[in-house]
Symmetry: C2
DNA sequence: ACCATCTCGTCAGAGGATCTGACCATCGTC
DNA sequence: GACGATGGTCAGATCCTCTGACGAGATGGT
């Protein structure tokens, strides 16, 4: 990962700063809202739960962790009441991880903070540059996200 | 951190994909080059060592970890021969973490991979869009990197 | 139906990464 | 010189992540 404090930083590293900043803002806001028992790792898993529920294996794939790790994190989220596991009606081996009520409350807070942060960034960059940034990142995702 | 598999992803999450892709590419290339005893956490610290050496506290600040964590990672890097610690001539309390020969070799590989990846991304986006992306990310860094 | 094979998820165990708290040596300043 | 601030370490705990092994259910060919 080496990259000096030099002038021209690589694009990957430049991408890191906004991501880290958002994650820190989110975590702080969640703690402030009383959800102080959540970790970033749990959040990264929870963030990938689709409306109807998502299989553990799918969560693991998208988050780029092993299914053991994902299972461990879902255990914690379940114990804390953020998610629940229900049988998958289409496959008796599988179970769907769904948001519980408490989980939905967290998502609501997260959505608000995300919108806030994005508004700040847009204000800093200007509408047009922000839109271009989004477009470029979305196109970049085509070649950098194996699970798009 | 929650963010659904929904349509319009937030900018922070969009930033994550390129960063993760680059880090994975780097790690794979380093392993392929025989540097198979390095971890991403070590890399994130090593990446911030300036040419003349950097203090532990500075490394910790920039990587956003505690100085204990940074010290632990530098211990490993030192044991593996990637870096060395030398006394700071300007302050008897402090020591400078410097790249050792083996560390320089890693940096060389990393530089090459970074350039490769950036060339691929530029090819995908087009010269102009890539330049705009870089410019936007650099401006965004002004408000997202506390240690710029 | 049946069997080989794959997929979904779990259990067990180990190694890393990261934090908090306590502590010492040195620096800078009044 | 005395005192608060800074650089770094030690100790201990917690969380995250992985590898390996495994059982239960699905799938496809015969």
């Amino acid at each position: 990962m080496p990259d000096p404090a030099g002038e021209r930083q690589n694009l990957g590293l430049l991408c890191f700063y906004p991501h880290r900043a958002l994650e820190a803002r989110l975590l702080a806001a969640l703690v402030a809202a009383g959800f102080d028992d959540i970790t970033t790792a749990q959040g990264r898993i929870a963030a990938r739960i689709a409306p109807g529920g998502t299989r553990l294996t799918a969560l693991a794939e998208q988050a780029l962790v092993t299914k053991q790790t994902a299972g461990h994190l879902v255990d914690q989220l379940e114990r804390a009441g953020y998610v629940r596991r229900v049988p998958d009606p289409t496959d008796a081996r599988a179970r769907l991880v769904q948001m519980a009520e408490r989980g939905e409350a967290v998502v609501a807070v997260a959505r608000r903070v995300e919108a806030e942060v994005e508004a700040e960034w847009t204000a800093h960059l200007g509408e047009e540059a922000a839109a271009q940034l989004r477009a470029a990142l979305e196109r970049l995702r085509e070649v950098t996200d194996p699970y798009r």
